[in-house]
Amino acid sequence: MALPLMLVPIPPSVASSDATVELEDVTKSYGVGATATLALDGISLRVATGEFLCLVGASGCGKSTLLNLVAGLDRPTSGTVRVSGGAALMFQDPALFPWLTVEQNVDFPLLMRRLPKLDRRRRVADLLEMVRLDDFARRRPHELSGGMRQRVALARALAQESPVLLMDEPFGALDAMTRDLLHDEIERVWRQAGLTVVFVTHNVREAVRLGDRVIVLSSRPGRIAAEYHVDLPRPRHIDSTENAELAAEITEQLRALGRPAAPA
């Protein structure tokens, strides 16, 4: 086990409060008739307020479809999706607007909500400080490294001030070192902002590193194949023995399911 010094209690909200995201028997299919493909089949899922939930599965298992449903970008074919307070969405690509500076990018959701200028300026400054990019406020996206861009995207998603943050393989395109640092970063921000996070990845180790709970999806159609509670104390490290062992165990069971996930 980790040293007692490093133990940080899991937020009490995870255990006590009610669900922020709720999916009931959600089915999603594309196309009609004989050519219809079933992307998601009978997904029922509750995410508690303040919980960090990771969804893992091989590509094509409908992870992104699921996030789109929760984000409200798409409607389920059947079943219900309930999200209290709205959800912000982050992609694998930072998708920053290249014509805006870093601070203007973060300001974008605030501008769309027509908040007063002074208010916006203060919030943008706070957010940039939170992702530690206050020195880069006036830079343009193309002047930043990949990790910095993803942090700007995080600040911009947080600026929507939605209680739920949906992340679609947000660190998939980054090098391992940057990704490890961003794990610490998202964990810190999650706690500071009291967010509920649904994090999609194909990397089991990453899921174990971050999640309070890891849900494994099977492929075609996407179904919930297994569910794990991760009780490892935080802060965790992706290369720690406990983390690696638990990830190996999940990967092993995935293989037994006959649905191999990408190894960490």
Partner: protein
């Protein structure tokens, strides 16, 4: 969300990784950069003048038909001291600005509508390309019927000449926006007119510039054709000076006026569009740094 502050003791773990992706390399001095951009253009002008001078030396045409460059330039300098010259230039520039401005507004609206509505694209897409390839001079008889010999007739043709290019540029620009940019805009709450104002137009801007530039070229040509055909009493313009110079067989004046037409066209293209285009690309990191 509550206000959050970074604790003072936090050490930034990103310090080493935070090296900006594109450090600006050492640039050569301003004077040298300016000179390296300008000398090939000066050389080209010198070559043009030289060929002209050679034709004069060879007495290809008598000098009252084809005067020497020196005489024409001297006339241009002399003209530029008279208020009539500047009045004419001002009238022409005002028409160009008004006509192009209206074409920009109309072309942009039509372009957006055609790019975003499938039905409109099916209906008008090919028509606009057809309009674009139609010589604008062909509109003048109709314009004169509709508006008599008035400035409206000229502006009508200028707008018809420029707007299709601008609309086509807008359609192409919008078509080339990465889908992820549109999705990000939606996810971040851009709806309705704000989606166009804050996402679609800025995202398309770099590729719009080509259409804007082409629109200007068409506007300028149509304007010159119009000023030669539609002569309005008491309203001097560059085109009128050109036409009168021909009627009075004043070859020096004629060539001097042509130089003015050329100069204005080049200045708008290079100074206005060139700079705008470069500025837009630089801000987005689309310019390769070449020393």
């Amino acid at each position: 969300m509550t206000r959050m502050a970074r604790s003072a003791a936090t050490v930034d773990p990103f310090a080493e990784l935070d090296a900006p992706a594109s450090a600006s390399p050492a640039r050569p001095g301003r004077v040298r950069r300016f000179w390296s951009a300008v000398w090939p253009q000066l050389a080209a002008i010198a070559l043009g003048l030289f060929i002209w001078q050679v034709l004069v030396w060879l007495h290809w045409r008598p000098s009252y038909v084809l005067p020497a460059p020196e005489a024409v330039l001297a006339r241009l300098v002399k003209d530029s001291t008279t208020p009539e010259f500047w009045g004419a230039v001002f009238t022409t520039l005002r028409r160009a600005a008004v006509g192009y401005g209206i074409a920009l507004a109309i072309g942009t609206l039509f372009g957006i509508a055609i790019a975003r509505a499938r039905l409109l694209r099916a209906a008008f897409g090919a028509l606009i390309t057809g309009l674009q390839s139609m010589p604008s001079v062909a509109w003048f008889p109709l314009a004169i019927l509709l508006f008599n010999l008035s400035e409206s007739a000229i502006l009508f043709v200028v707008i018809l000449g420029a707007a299709p290019s601008i609309a086509n540029g807008i359609v192409a620009g919008i078509d080339h926006i990465p889908p992820l940019t549109l999705r990000a805009g939606r996810v971040l709450g851009a709806r309705g007119p704000a989606f166009y104002r804050y996402v679609i137009l800025p995202a398309a801007l770099p590729s719009l510039m080509a259409g804007f530039k082409q629109g200007w070229a068409f506007a300028w040509r149509s304007l010159m054709a119009g000023e030669l055909l539609v002569i309005i009493g008491g309203q001097a313009s560059v085109g009128v000076r050109l036409e009168f110079a021909r009627e009075f067989s004043d070859a020096e004046e004629l060539l001097a006026s042509m130089l003015v037409v050329l100069l204005i066209g080049v200045l708008v293209d290079v100074v206005l569009f060139g700079r705008l285009d470069r500025g837009i690309r630089e801000r987005r990191g689309l310019v390769e740094q070449t020393a």
